[in-house]
């Protein structure tokens, strides 16, 4: 067995080990990883989310399987300090000496800190690791907590991609962010002058103070304990913290010390095999200068990792070219830059469209004949990015100017059809349009998730997912969104229509916007919309005709035509008295009684005409409907929390009860379930719910989009450490946004997955109000809460509604003769069970096939 030592457990080093372990199926290689950081590799690209919504665990790249792998030794917190090429030994700061057959340098970069006076003061940071962010968070916390009026400011030195991200982070931490950029515009590497000017305006509108064309002269401690940052034009900024984001330098020290050649501007020189001059030493990721060129993005690094893993397992892969495209959504501003963005290729021409009113700037770089796309810059509206990127190096389908014309005529009109098969759709996983089309044509994939599974496209950063949908459509895979044969609209579109038009009866809606008389698909869907838009009882007027039988009888239909009754037990709490009442009802009506999987009690076997009498006794004892029948909130499961549990950090029961009472009766596209756990042990299984809450020392973490059932999925963290008021407001909006926009019978998990832009988009809409609809969502929820009334009690008070609870209109008291029960394990269950299976209906005496009427007539 041979040993490969990997120095650095960052993103690229980790990808290398994974890839090698995957390829090395015979176990030829033992891997030793020496890591400087105290945590295993994590997603540095998503670093900033650590300050808003993600925990360190969410960012982790190494899973348990990896950490338990016998062939991988990971040594954390132990920096490699010396290399002996001849003996092939690495020495670490902790004194470990490791021999290697092959050595892979994956040490990444270090932030560049210009040596301005004061650069080494406390409260001056860089922005590269989780530890950096912990320190920054702590300092910002002190600053905002310090007594005295006014918001505190933070200064970011450097207005590139990372600088803007750091500025956004300062904003998240409650500081006013200033950005100091030496170049005359922001993001000088990626965007040109025109794009930079628009970018500056857009981020300015969002609260960033931008200073361009100036450098930082000094940083000094002021008399109140803050910092004063002096700029080259003499102006001064007061700041609580300073963050340097002035570029990165390859961490190539180990290679330099042993005399391996490095590139002019740093980086270990390697060839197309990613091998250094020493045939046993390789370099990958940001530390490598492939044929003299370094790359500051993760995708090229991953490609290098694959090359070396391939080489060590006998392959002959080479690093060819790298996609240097970037698209980011910073502070809600779209910026994309791809290919030769600065038109440095010989003879390159630029085509620009600057629309300051719409806030959009586009530039395409093309060959001198104007036919081949070389690169481009999009600011403000980057919706054309995926398609344009696909045309890189390809012949354009038309006049370049027409491609960047305002929406409707531009790229959108060209569409995916025009893209050549060689166009790369997913750059993270190098998947071309041709590969996708093949997967669709061969029948292997007909949905986006299937495409993801069989081609890996869309499985990494997700930015190409919208394009995958377009490829499907272009291949003629029609994904009809029509509700049913009566409505061509999707549920979301119909909801918009009903909301906007004020139409409040099914008849009026189907007459104006549909056709025919409706069916069992569209009627309950519209009933659900009317419930959240018009309110009132679900059995009022025409609404009653739209309800599924469960909603119609406010109980759950069972296989023999009887119903089950589930009273609400908010948070799963029930008193002894309450249990006695339930017990007495079950006894008196002969109901089968069972503890449900949802922390409450279900009574089965009630005939329609018994329902009101059962409700009467429940309502008199203070119970109400549990909506087990509705596409609506079911239970908010809870653990005992601080009331009883020695580990509880918050009162989970009180919150669960409050949430259950707030959202009870809310009609939605599918049922909704929730849970609240009093600590991270998660006894309420909140993460398997549509919205789940887990207590933290200082507040609540909110998870959304989970469920058990057919396709189990864990809920994902939407926001952390919320106070109760913010938590409830966020859930309000999450639910109402779901109610408005989900498909019929689409639970929150597939709904969240279907959102373009995913969880980030959801956060923007409901936490940052990017669509400007939060006030309306809040108002709609407030109305729901104010209008709630128990549906059972309302029926008991209304003779017209009560009249409906009979089996036979001409024999109101007569029980349905077809309902029979037998004894099973000492309990009462519907007749017709044999060996645990329902018997054939023939034995019930009705005949499985009732003869056609014509046959009957023949017999007469």
């Amino acid at each position: 067995m041979r040993t490969v030592v990997v120095v650095g457990h960052g993103m690229v080093g980790h990808r290398f080990v994974e890839s090698l372990r995957r390829r090395d199926d015979v176990g030829d290689w033992r891997v030793v990883v020496l890591a400087e950081e105290s945590r295993p590799a994590y997603d540095r690209v998503a670093l900033s989310s650590y300050l808003s919504t993600a925990s360190a665990a969410d960012l982790a790249l190494a899973d348990e399987e990896f950490l338990a792998d016998d062939l991988v030794d990971l040594h954390l917190d132990d920096r490699a300090v010396a290399l002996d090429r001849d003996a092939r030994v690495v020495t670490t700061a902790g004194g470990r000496r490791v021999s290697y057959d092959e050595l892979v340098l994956a040490t990444g970069s270090v932030p560049f800190v210009p040596p301005v006076p004061g650069h080494d003061l406390d409260d001056v940071f860089v922005y590269r690791t989780l530890d950096d962010l912990d320190a920054l968070r702590e300092a910002a916390g002190h600053a905002t907590a310090r007594a005295g009026a006014g918001r505190r400011a933070g200064v970011v030195v450097g207005g590139g991609l990372l600088g803007l991200e750091a500025a956004d982070a300062l904003r998240t931490l409650g500081l006013v962010p200033h950005v100091v950029e030496m170049a005359p515009r922001l993001m000088p590497v990626q965007v040109d002058e025109g794009g930079g000017a628009l970018l500056r305006r857009l981020v300015g509108e969002l609260g960033l103070r931008v200073h361009t064309g100036v450098s930082t002269s000094s940083i000094a401690r002021d008399h109140r304990g803050g910092l004063t940052v002096t700029l080259s034009d003499g102006s001064e900024l007061d700041a609580s913290v300073v963050v340097f984001s002035a570029g990165i330098r390859p961490a190539d020290g180990l290679a330099r010390e042993i005399g391996l050649p490095v590139a002019e501007r740093g980086g270990v020189l390697v060839d197309g095999r990613c091998r250094t001059q020493d045939e046993h030493i390789w370099a990958i990721g940001e530390v490598a200068a492939v044929e003299g060129r370094t790359y500051g993005l993760v995708a090229p690094g991953y490609a290098m990792a694959e090359v070396v893993a391939d080489r060590l397992t006998g392959g002959d892969a080479r690093f060819t070219e790298a996609d240097m495209s970037t698209k980011l959504k910073l502070l809600g501003v779209d910026v994309a830059s791809f290919g030769d963005a600065h038109a440095v290729s010989a003879g390159a021409l630029e085509v620009r469209l600057d629309d300051p009113v719409a806030g959009a700037y586009s530039k395409l770089v093309v060959t001198d004949d104007g036919r081949t796309l070389l690169g481009g810059v999009l600011v403000g509206d980057a919706s054309g990015y995926e398609i344009l990127r696909g045309f890189l190096g390809e012949t354009l389908p038309g006049d370049p100017m027409a491609l960047i014309a305002p929406a409707g005529d531009g790229v959108a009109a060209v569409g995916i059809e025009a893209l050549p098969d060689s166009a790369q759709i997913c750059s993270c996983n190098a998947v071309t349009k041709g590969v996708l089309v093949e997967a669709i044509r061969s029948g292997e994939a007909s949905t986006v998730p299937e495409l993801k599974a069989c081609t890996r496209a869309g499985a990494t950063c997700g930015s190409c997912v919208p394009t995958l949908g377009k490829v499907l459509t272009a291949c003629g895979v029609e994904v009809s969104t029509a509700l049913c044969e009566h409505f061509a609209q999707s549920r979301a579109e119909l909801y918009e229509i009903v909301m906007a038009t004020g139409l409040r009866t099914f008849s009026a809606i189907v007459e104006s916007y549909g056709r025919g008389r409706g069916c069992d698909v569209c009627k309950p869907a519209v009933a659900s919309m009317l419930a959240t838009l018009a309110g009132g009882h679900v059995l009022d007027g025409e609404q009653a005709t739209l309800q599924d039988t469960n909603d119609h009888f406010l109980a759950n239909l069972q296989r023999n035509g009887t119903y089950s009754v589930v009273p609400r037990l908010p948070g799963g709490e029930v008193s002894g008295e309450g249990l006695i009442v339930i017990g007495e009802i079950a006894r008196d009506f002969g109901l089968y009684t069972k503890i449900t999987g949802g922390q409450r009690i279900d009574m089965f076997g009630a005939r329609v005409e018994q329902l009101p009498a059962i409700w009467r006794r429940l309502v008199d004892a203070g119970f109400e409907s549990g909506h087990a029948y509705g596409k609506s909130l079911r239970t908010v499961k809870s653990c005992v929390g601080t009331d009883w549990c020695r580990y509880g950090v918050q009162d989970s029961v009180s919150l669960a009860v409050a949430l259950e009472l707030r959202y009870r009766g809310l009609r939605s596209p599918h049922k909704l379930k929730s849970g609240v756990s009093g600590c991270a042990r998660e006894c309420a299984e909140a993460r398997s719910k549509d919205f789940g809450v887990i207590a933290t020392e200082t507040g609540w973490n909110l998870y959304v989009g989970g469920n058990g059932g057919f396709t189990p999925r864990h809920a994902e963290l939407l926001a952390s450490d919320l106070d109760t008021v913010t938590l409830v407001r966020t859930i309000d909006r999450f639910l109402m946004f779901y109610v408005r926009t989900a498909d019929r019978l689409q639970r929150t998990a597939p709904w969240v997955e279907s959102l373009e832009g995913g969880l980030d988009h959801l956060r923007e809409v409901i936490m940052e109000d990017s669509l400007g609809i939060c006030a309306s969502l809040d108002e709609q929820m407030a109305r729901h809460v104010a209008d709630y009334a128990d549906e059972w009690a309302a029926v008991l008070e209304d003779p017209a509604k009560l009249e409906r609870f009979t089996s036979f209109v001409n024999a109101p008291g007569a029980p349905d003769p077809s309902v029979e029960f037998v004894d099973h394990r000492g309990h009462r269950v519907p007749a017709g069970m044999k060996d645990g299976q329902p018997t054939s209906v023939a034995e019930l005496g009705f005949g499985p096939r009732i003869p056609l009427r014509s046959e009957l007539e023949v017999g007469v």
Binding site: E485, H486, S507, G516, R517, G518, C519, D520, C522, K523, P524, A544, T545, L546, Q547, D548, T549, H552, F553, L557, R559, N560, G561, T806, S807, F808, V809, N810, A811, A814, D816, P817, S818, V819, G832, V841, L844, F846, G847, P848, R849, I850, P851, L852, R853, L856, E857, V860
Partner: protein, 113 residues
């Protein structure tokens, strides 16, 4: 058509008791029957037992149309039965019995076979 005269008609309830597109159950000569009043005030009667489950529940289904034919959907497993002839749209071999209906002096009457 001669047998029409031999039928026994059972009065079920005033037409006004039946909401449009919201059927009721009735007992006719001991058999459970679903009585449906459509949006255009036609009245149909079908045997109430859902042949797929054996449960007496058709009257609790949703009324509408499929491909222009008026139907009722079984509340249990959602198969559609044509109101006019009781045929199941999903399985041509299956049908439920239908019964003649007339409205006399505002009262719905159902004829036995």
């Amino acid at each position: 058509m001669t047998e029409l005269a031999d039928r026994t008609w059972t009065a079920v309830c005033p037409l006004e008791r039946i909401q449009r597109e919201r059927p009721v159950g009735a007992l006719v000569a001991g058999e459970p029957v679903a009585v449906v009043r459509t949006h255009d005030d036609r009245v149909f009667a079908l045997h109430n037992v859902d042949p797929f489950s054996g449960a007496s529940v058709l009257a609790r289904g949703i009324v509408g149309d499929v491909g222009g034919r008026p139907v009722i959907a079984s509340p249990l497993f959602k198969q559609h039965f044509a109101l006019e002839d009781g045929r199941c749209l999903e399985d041509a071999d299956v049908a439920v019995a239908t019964y003649p209906v007339r409205v006399v002096d505002g009262v719905v009457q159902i004829g036995s076979q």
